[in-house]
């Protein structure tokens, strides 16, 4: 009898727990309107943009108020978002969704397909143009709104270049030979300890700031994985890897992580960064920016690079998804994109960027080159196991290129084989 009661209590407790779990955030009706919550990035400029955007929306929509907060602190935004998806308490919109994490969030059932909205695909493609294709999932649906990019370029310190006897106003950095020659001059002259110092650590995303921009440029816009296959086991992949290996072998790039900003501190004379850095470096560094190099040199107007984009996700725990979609469109409207550009210096992913905001680029000529570059960016591939793919690539790259163990063709071949398997998995 007692045993029966115990079993009964346990069964009831389990049932309550299961009901509690399943009811936590199973998603809402796509047509519902009402108050929503959003998260945005925690850097000062984006907070300022987010606050004014929410204020503007709330003023006109008293029945669909938006409550906004900075993304909660964590090791990375992706971990916080993944945990929120699992817990069922993700907000409606997150204005800091990494494209590399989207396949995983989609697999978790955490994202709403924006293509399911009547005007979803049309809105995305009309705003972003051909670049939007890179953000579509394997089935062609959009689970992320392409929002803003930070097309990375070579920042160089004009003072250190002058000290090394290089032309500081129009430095020769377009071919690999020129890049190596300039790098050697910088280090040999003692102008800086390193010519460039991309983080040599093992995190999966670090290759986005050394190998990938140069690979995008060398291949004229090829992603790491296309059509389910790794693309880098090629002459272009080998050329980029050889360049970086030479940089490390000759101590022109540092193998050890630097605590701080090596470019800002003058430890390195160059850096690969996006336009966000303009506000950060400000007057502290007398800087210039040029496109990343290619083996034979490419015209600046044709050079591709890595986008370093952050997008907007609409999360399935959202109850008022129609309001979320309307807010998303409001936040990516021409007016709000203009304010984003003005307040953060980051490039809205619009196909007509430089023509829509001519006044901004006229007033801020430093950003013009980034505005132009924004139309030729390559995103991380939107494929299954995206993070694992990048970690595998980083591990192989770190060994063969940064620490010079083994030969580069073997690294490219072995890593490509692993990535082919990962990319083809569900």
């Amino acid at each position: 009898m007692r045993r029966g009661m115990t079993i009964g209590i346990l069964a009831a407790a389990t049932a309550v727990a299961l009901v509690g779990c399943s009811g936590g955030g199973g998603g809402g009706d796509a047509r519902t309107k009402g108050p929503i919550t959003i998260w945005y990035s925690n850097n000062e400029a984006e907070i300022a943009w987010g606050k004014q955007m929410v204020e503007a929306w709330n003023a006109d929509n008293p029945d669909e108020q938006v409550k906004a907060q900075e993304i909660p602190a964590g090791d990375s935004s992706e971990e916080v978002i993944s945990a929120a998806i699992t817990a069922g308490n993700a907000p409606c919109l997150i204005f800091n969704t990494s494209p590399a994490a989207v396949p995983q969030f989609e697999k978790q059932g955490g994202l709403v397909s924006l293509s399911d909205f009547e005007d979803g695909d049309d809105y995305i493609t009309s705003r972003t143009g051909d670049l939007a294709e890179q953000y579509a999932s394997a089935d062609g649906a959009y689970f992320q709104m392409p929002w803003k990019s930070n097309p990375v370029m070579i920042f160089y310190n004009k003072d250190l270049f002058a000290k090394a006897g290089l032309d500081a106003d129009s430095p020769k950095l377009s071919t690999y030979d020129e890049f190596l020659t300039a790098s050697r001059a910088i280090v040999d002259s003692g102008a800086a300890k390193y010519a460039i110092h991309p983080a040599p650590t093992s995190e999966f995303f670090q290759s986005w700031f050394d190998f990938y921009p140069l690979y995008a440029a060398e291949t004229e816009g090829t992603q790491l994985v296309e059509d389910g296959k790794a693309t880098f086991d090629s002459d272009e992949g080998e050329a980029v890897s050889e360049l970086w290996r030479t940089m490390y072998e000759e101590n022109l790039a540092g193998q050890e992580q630097y605590q701080g900003d090596s470019f800002l501190d003058g430890e390195a004379a160059m850096a690969i960064v996006g336009p966000w850095a303009i506000a950060v470096y400000g007057d502290d560094v007398n800087w210039g920016a040029v496109p990343v190099p290619t083996s034979e040199g490419t015209d600046a107007a044709e050079t591709y690079t890595f986008s370093d984009a952050k997008n907007i996700g609409l999360y399935s725990a959202c109850k008022n998804q129609q309001t979320a979609w309307d807010v998303l469109k409001f936040a990516t409207s021409e007016e709000q994109d203009g304010k984003l550009l003005e307040l953060t210096g980051q490039m809205p992913l619009r196909s007509d960027l430089t023509t829509v905001y001519p006044d901004y680029f006229a007033d801020n000529p430093a950003y013009t080159v980034f505005g132009d570059q924004a139309s030729r960016t390559v995103e991380v591939p939107n494929v299954a196991n995206s993070v694992e793919i990048w970690q595998n690539f980083r591990d192989g790259y770190s060994k063969a290129v940064i620490f010079g163990e083994g030969d580069i063709p073997a690294f490219l071949k072995d890593t490509a084989a692993k990535i082919d398997t990962l990319a083809s998995a569900n």
Partner: protein
């Protein structure tokens, strides 16, 4: 005159019947259960449930999903374990943590017992010295790691002192030296806690034993090995177990000090790999399999340590 009426045997049996059953379930002091309940619940919720859940996950094709989303998580038998055992990075991480334990555990035991004995004898500035050893233990790892980076980076203090004798590549990017540096760092950081354990244990060593040893003409070293070391053996077992368990769970130091287990995974630990695979890459099933293997390894080491120290004791 008082008459005592004894209950009949049948009545006595009736009265006593529920007692053994209740006693069997609740023990002789049911109130004790009430007092221990919060901690038992804590242990079950924070340790037991996650371990059982992790073991279950390691046999499924599992990934975290949003509540209410129907996903297929089939039973996959030992597939995750096979994947883990075929992954060279996993083997390397276990070798790395083996190197770490070989350096860290003996060093921790030796240094903490020696320093605790010395501190126990100190008369002046005793509190200051004890606090000094304890400060690194309570300091945030992130802050302390910054100091060690300053010391052991390529252009750091240690290399400047060593000059031409500085290793190439430098400490933290040297595949032979990265893990030993981490082991030294952790030993230094945790030492204060173990010293405290030994200081507590030293208070229980009878003073008469020291007096007898002195009477027999034993010197300091002889007294240390013949009186102090045997006297704190239970504490030594505790230090061995705790340092082994915490060492096997190494994560923060390779994550921060060597930039994610570098160079080339030479300082990657199993827990760091679990973090990468389980949290970053969304494969908690594979991460759980690594965790289960790690638990088994730690249990085996702890069992051997216990047997060795007990055998010596007996």
């Amino acid at each position: 005159m008082t008459t005592i009426t004894r209950p009949t045997e049948v009545e006595a049996q009736r009265q006593d019947a529920p007692r053994p059953r209740r006693r069997r379930w609740l023990g002789s002091s049911p109130l004790g259960l009430l007092f221990t309940a919060p901690y038992l619940i804590f242990i079950c919720a924070i340790f037991a449930y996650p371990i059982v859940f992790a073991v279950w996950m390691s046999f499924q094709d599992y990934f975290f999903s949003a509540p209410g989303v129907e996903v297929d998580r089939p039973f996959v038998g030992f597939d995750n374990y096979i994947a883990v055992l075929q992954d060279p990075a996993v083997w390397q991480s276990f070798r790395n943590v083996g190197v770490f334990l070989i350096i860290n555990v003996p060093l921790t035991v030796v240094l903490s017992i020696v320093l605790a004995s010395a501190l126990n004898r100190v008369v002046h500035a005793r509190a200051f010295l004890r606090v000094s050893y304890y400060v690194p233990y309570v300091a945030a790892s992130v802050a302390v790691v910054g100091v060690w980076l300053f010391l052991f980076s390529g252009g750091g203090l240690v290399n400047n002192v060593l000059g031409d004798l500085a290793p190439v590549p430098s400490w933290l990017i040297n595949s032979q030296l990265a893990m030993p540096v981490i082991a030294l760092f952790v030993t230094w950081k945790q030492l204060g806690f173990y010293i405290l354990l030994y200081l507590a244990a030293l208070q229980n060593v009878p003073k008469e034993l020291y007096e007898s040893a002195a009477t027999d003409g034993a010197g300091g070293v002889r007294t240390f090995f013949s009186v102090t070391v045997p006297g704190v053996r239970p504490a030594t077992l505790l230090v061995l177990l705790i340092s082994t368990i915490t060492g096997a769970n190494l994560f923060t130091e390779p994550y921060l000090l060597t930039g994610g287990g570098g160079p080339n995974g030479a300082s990657a630990s199993p827990v760091l790999l679990m973090y990468q695979k389980g949290i970053e890459q969304g494969n908690p099933d594979v991460a759980s399999a690594i965790g289960v293997i790690l638990i088994i390894c730690v249990l085996i080491i702890a069992f051997i340590q216990r047997r060795l120290v007990r055998d010596e004791e007996s």
